[in-house]
């Protein structure tokens, strides 16, 4: 009878050496009620004694927990991608609708403002054509949604990719993961590819013999590229992309935050900018 009961335990049918199988049982197994598992495990011969039981349990639970956490963090990079794409969509359509609103409002009032700003101005008003006000409120709703998605990304990106989020900022980190497809793909790309992610059109044009090779893709939005003077921007983009690649790799393979990376990047950009000034 004890053997029947023991068969419900995490250790049943698992060779104590097979840590992977034990971890899987811990992750996916179920039982309605607990039992005296240490005793049953020893009785069933799965382990020689209670100390061995707990040692095995420790290894198995640590591995199971680590697998679950890693798997979830991997899945979280997908969520981040959906969030950043949704954020961009909300911003884009809010602006498109705001253009329409601007045209419409302008036909009724020469002094009407324009864009999302104007939508925010007349939302909730009862001095304007009700359909305009209603449209303005939808636009404000979409920009609010984009803002809330940004907050979501800011909260989640450091969990998914702590180093990348620290170096790139959460939103750019999410965009890079989105452009690569997932954190794994980003981690495996050479830093030269990371440098031009988001500039695929220009890159393909260059490869077909049109135009110059692009110096930066979406990383242009980073202050270290954008605010570096044009002559040194290529160097800054290369330096930033290099560190971002390393950050993505650490995030993918270990997940440990490394403050040194950020400090190195700061020093590197400082040198590039100083060089630019002295020339």
């Amino acid at each position: 009878m004890n053997e029947d009961v023991a068969s419900a335990g995490w250790f049943a049918d698992v060779d104590q050496m097979e840590a992977e199988a034990a971890a899987a049982r811990i992750r996916t197994g179920e039982a309605e009620t607990p039992e005296a598992w240490p005793v049953l495990a020893v009785e069933s011969g799965a382990v020689p004694d209670e100390q061995a039981y707990y040692d095995t349990l420790r290894a198995a639970t640590l591995r199971a927990a680590r697998d679950t956490v890693t798997e979830r963090e991997r899945a979280d990079d997908r969520q981040l991608i959906h969030a950043v794409r949704s954020m961009d969509d909300c911003d884009r359509v809010a602006n498109e609708l705001a253009e329409r609103l601007t045209e419409w409002a302008g036909s009724l009032d020469d002094e009407a403002g324009s864009g999302v700003e104007y939508a925010r101005e007349i939302a909730g008003s009862d001095d304007h054509e009700p359909r305009l006000v209603s449209l303005a409120e939808r636009i404000v709703g979409l920009t609010d949604e984009a803002e809330e998605l940004r907050t979501f990304i800011e909260r989640r990106a450091p969990d998914v990719a702590p180093n990348l989020a620290a170096l790139a900022g959460p939103v750019l980190a999410a965009r890079l993961i989105s452009l690569a497809g997932d954190l794994e793909s980003l981690a495996k790309k050479p830093s030269g590819t990371v440098q031009v992610l988001g500039a695929e059109d220009a890159l393909f044009a260059h490869l077909r013999g049109h135009g110059t090779s692009p110096k930066h893709g979406v990383i242009f939005t980073h202050e270290y590229v954008r605010a570096t003077e044009p002559d040194e921007r290529g160097s800054a983009a290369r330096a930033l992309a290099g560190k971002l690649s390393i950050a993505a790799r650490i995030d993918y393979y270990s997940g440990e935050y490394n403050a040194e990376l950020e400090a190195e990047l700061d020093r590197r950009i400082e040198r590039i900018r100083t060089r630019g000034e002295s020339e």
């Binding site: 995490w10 811990i26 607990p34 639970t61 927990a65 979830r72």
Partner: protein, 207 residues
């Protein structure tokens, strides 16, 4: 209070301490590590001199282990300690804490679904320490009662705002105790001020 939990002087003040490897940057004094009652519900219960019934070498199920701060102190005095935490980010920190302890078993599981870990956690436990901050905290205690020995102890902290942010905490706590009494005999309760606002500490035993 368990024998291995003592009061020692830190910065001229008598504070709780356990003996073990430091894990989260807490102040130490030789082998002893400060246990800050303001950062730990269980620590606060000791400071409030509640009769938790907890003893050295107890077999313990800890629900809501979060980043593992408190559970690391529990593992210092207790025997086998099962630490349940569902959220990904704190679970990653808990993993590091568990690596530093020989008999601390991390379980990335939902405390509301004990059947997902009843194949791992042993029966007849001496104590459940509970600090989950989701709604339905009393139900979590009832669902996990299956792990306790008949004379085991539930040592739980209930957060009013997790149940209802708008209700009077006293009303929330009354509801919590009424639910608990479906499976537990309440031995002692205490409000956790000044250590934790709007929290109720409860010590109970299965009935």
């Amino acid at each position: 209070m368990p024998e291995s939990v003592t009061r020692r002087e830190f910065d001229g003040e008598e504070r709780l301490a356990t003996r073990g490897q430091p894990v989260y940057g807490e102040p130490t004094d030789g082998d002893w590590r400060l246990w800050d009652a303001r950062r730990s519900k269980l620590g606060a219960m000791f400071e409030l001199e509640m009769e938790t019934g907890l003893e050295d070498d107890d077999h313990v199920l800890y629900l809501g282990a979060a980043s593992g701060t408190t559970v690391s102190h529990v593992a210092d005095f207790a025997g086998p300690t099962y630490a349940v935490e569902f959220a990904t980010r704190p679970a990653r920190d808990l993993l590091d804490v568990a690596e530093s302890r020989k008999r601390l078993f991390p379980l990335v599981k939902d405390a509301r679904m004990p059947e997902r870990y009843a194949h791992v956690v042993e029966s007849e436990l001496d104590a459940i320490v509970q600090d989950v901050a989701t709604s339905g905290q009393a139900r979590v205690a009832l669902e996990n009662r299956r792990f306790l020995a008949h004379d085991g102890r539930l040592v739980a902290a209930f957060k009013a705002r997790s149940e209802d942010v708008t209700a009077d905490p006293n009303d929330v706590f009354e509801g919590v105790l009424a639910t608990l009494e479906n499976g537990y005999e309440i031995l002692e309760t205490a409000r956790m001020e000044p250590f934790h606002d709007d929290h109720l500490a409860v010590v109970a035993t299965p009935k």
